[in-house]
Amino acid sequence: MGKDKRFYNSTGKFLMTGNEALVRGCLESKINFIAAYPGTPTTDISETFSDLLAADPNLGEFITQHWAINEAVSISQAAGAAWTGARALAPMKHVGVNVASDALSVITLNGPNPGSLVLVVGSDPGSLGSHQEQNERFYGWMFNIPIIEPQTPQDCHDWIKIAFDVSQKHDIPIYFRTSTRSAHSRGFVNVNEIHLEKGNQVFVRDIPKYCSLPPHAINNHIRLYQRLEAVQQQIKTLHINSILPGDNKTGIITSGIPYGYTLEALNALNLNDVPVLKLGMIHPLDNGQIRDFAKDLDRVIIVEELEPFLEVKIGEILHKERVRAEVIGSQYFPKYGEFSIGLVASSLAKIFNVSTAGIAGQVTRAQEHFNQYAPIIPKRFPTFCAGCPERATLYAIRKATNELANTVVAGDIGCYVMSFFPPMETSDFIICMSGGLSAAIGIATQTKQNIIALIGDSTFLHTGMAPLADAVSNNSNITLIVFENNWVAMTGGQPVLGLTEGKLSIETITQAIGVKWVRVADPYKVDATVDLIRKARTEPGVKVIIIKRECMLQRSRARAGQIRRLEAGGKEVRKESYTIEACRMCGECFEKLACVAIRRTKDENNDTVMQIDEDRCNLCSVCYQLCPNNAVKKNIHNVCGEEVKI
């Protein structure tokens, strides 16, 4: 892989996503260590580091990148590195902070010095790449962690350096809050010199600092208030808060991506006299700056996504400072979902009582016009790739249980999260990473129904081993199906720590935990898989079926490469294809299996028939095996050619 000059050149203006800009900023601020469990929208931070390290082994002298097994491990790894004087980064998605929170609460008490620690949190208003949209900013209040929130890729680049410096100076972790939108937006970034430097590379004992138990826990708590206050005093010197002045008696305070929506909405509404305060640091707040901004105003509008956070704090500050401006926001803006320029413009038009003749009307008309034809747009749920081993397994589960009769299916987080979407509708509930198996244990105490829990290999290693040990100890009557596809597939195919390179084995782990009945199944052998799921039902206690097939997305890419190389070398490759002839439209393949390579179309007589798109089919042969009418035909070309396994 060649070098990407955006991460090597000393100066220049480059197109970068927020995440890429953040990585570049880290390279300019002496970063030493990155630990992360994959999670949208932060995964590509670690991936970029991983690519850079692969392209330039010399970088490894200064920087180590780890895929961690979960977020509690990654944040603690990062803290450990910081305690040897390293500059450490722990990127995680918003729900990752829930997992990390136990460790984070103590790490914050201890402080990261002599090194520094920045926690990058990718929030997700609108739940664009997550199972929920929790407002994780409150962790900043709960643990007394300063939060910096960038808007543009340039902010990501510039402010990550500030985050490291503040962390270092004040012995406090910094919470660098991006969002799905800011992390995955791309824009111009002016870069500076790369700055690489090793940490102290030694741990120095300091029991009162690193052992936050009584009495040190209380002393560190006191010290934490002092550290947070010191950060608060320093805010104005960081120059990450900025004001656009204006004469209007109503002003706006906002931060991050909503600042952009606000400014464009104001321009569109011809309200360019409204003063706007953009907060780069959203916790703690610079009380003096808030007071001075609001003291001559009648109203202060807070524009923020999700639950009121700034609104609560700013209301409190203005009350204490005896500023009379009314604080408004959440009564005009939704407390859920993602904002947009259109949404902010509509709400501001109401607050400012702007007539609907201008943009406010235009926004409404665009929406109304769209609403006229929106009902004819078919839904396009995300679903499994063609040939996905998980789709084949879901089919086998439904077949083995006679369409889920008297069966409870515990879903979990991973690609198989999509199994609740129609037409499969297989999972009954989904909680969080490994929440499915845990809930299944509870269900098993109350019912004799057939309980099947789903879990991926990476999720199993993340937090699934503990509930499995619990289930074994309680002798819970559960069949656990582990998808061992070798990749963290949902986030785009990162290696499963330990598993992809063969250091760990799910089979050995589950047996060591004490599961007596462990079987391995190939989901592309439909009947055998169905039989195994049926058999598991008749066995007592915890049963584990390991579904062993590589993620088809990864496999098909590798396979295409193998075929290209063979053909380039003049070799013939044996090729298979599947076609449908004399289809009776029974629905087994297109409704129950619901493979995306099988398309509904019309034949020459204008009759509805199903057809397999050759360019999308990944040759798993599952539809060929399950068709009750033998309508799916297998064709082999170059019979004597080299075989490349699927």
Partner: protein, 229 residues
């Protein structure tokens, strides 16, 4: 029929070189929507655009889902930050151009469309699973075209996937054909074809094939526009 009256939108309010150009790219996962988005941005940089901001979607959207990306370009940054691009996504009814890699996905981006919007639309459908399962209907291409015509006459429907298969032997290249049509129609301001060719050679593997795809599109776009005049 669109009854929005004249477009009074954000972009139209800012005059001259500070004007913002808004493009929506709509398709499904695996069609190369983000690749084309990035090419357009690189080409804009090559052409000297001072500001560029746009949104991509990663993660969940990869799984056969709908993809909508936005590209926003501004030739000269205004000294007044209130007139500049500040958000990575565009306002409702403010799209100048839609590149539709899949027909129904153009409608899914409908909230961004208005009378000023120009459209390039591939006619090859990718049916969602519920359509294949017989649980939902995919609207006819005639119906989709009728809705587009309700906004404007400036649209080009073309068999981009078919052209890509017939002329290039690679269905995926429909994405560069679509981009080429927009260039050929003159719907991408201030970016020359040379700018675009340069970034294709720099950023993509197999640049010969990709340049051919772009030029098939350019030719199609140019021909369609001159015929309509």
């Amino acid at each position: 029929m669109w009854r929005g009256g004249e477009d009074l939108m954000v972009a139209a309010k800012v005059k001259g070189d500070h004007r913002i150009f808004n493009c929506v790219l709509a398709g499904t996962a695996g069609q190369g929507v983000i690749t084309i988005k990035r090419l357009l941005e690189f080409a804009a940089q090559e052409a000297g655009y001072e500001e560029c901001f746009g949104s991509e979607m990663h993660g969940l959207a990869q799984r056969e889902g709908a993809i909508s990306s936005h590209v926003r370009l501004q030739r000269i940054i205004s000294p007044n930050p209130r007139e500049n691009i500040q958000a990575p996504t565009i306002c409702y009814g403010d799209a100048d151009l839609v590149l539709g890699f899949e027909p129904v996905e153009v409608l899914r981006s409908g909230v961004f469309l208005a009378a000023k919007t120009k459209f390039v639309i591939n006619d090859r459908t990718i049916q969602p699973i519920l359509v294949n399962a017989g649980k939902e209907e995919y609207p006819s291409l005639e119906k989709i075209e009728e809705i587009v015509r309700g906004y404007t006459k400036d649209y080009i429907f073309l068999p981009a996937t078919q052209l890509a298969i017939e002329q290039l032997g690679d269905a995926q290249k429909m994405n560069l054909i679509i981009l080429g049509v927009a260039f050929g129609a003159g719907w991408i301001p201030h970016i020359s074809i040379e700018n675009c060719e340069k970034v294709i050679c720099r950023e993509l593997r197999d640049s010969d094939l990709n340049l051919r795809a772009l030029n098939i599109g350019i030719e199609f776009g140019t021909r369609t526009i001159s015929r309509n005049k």
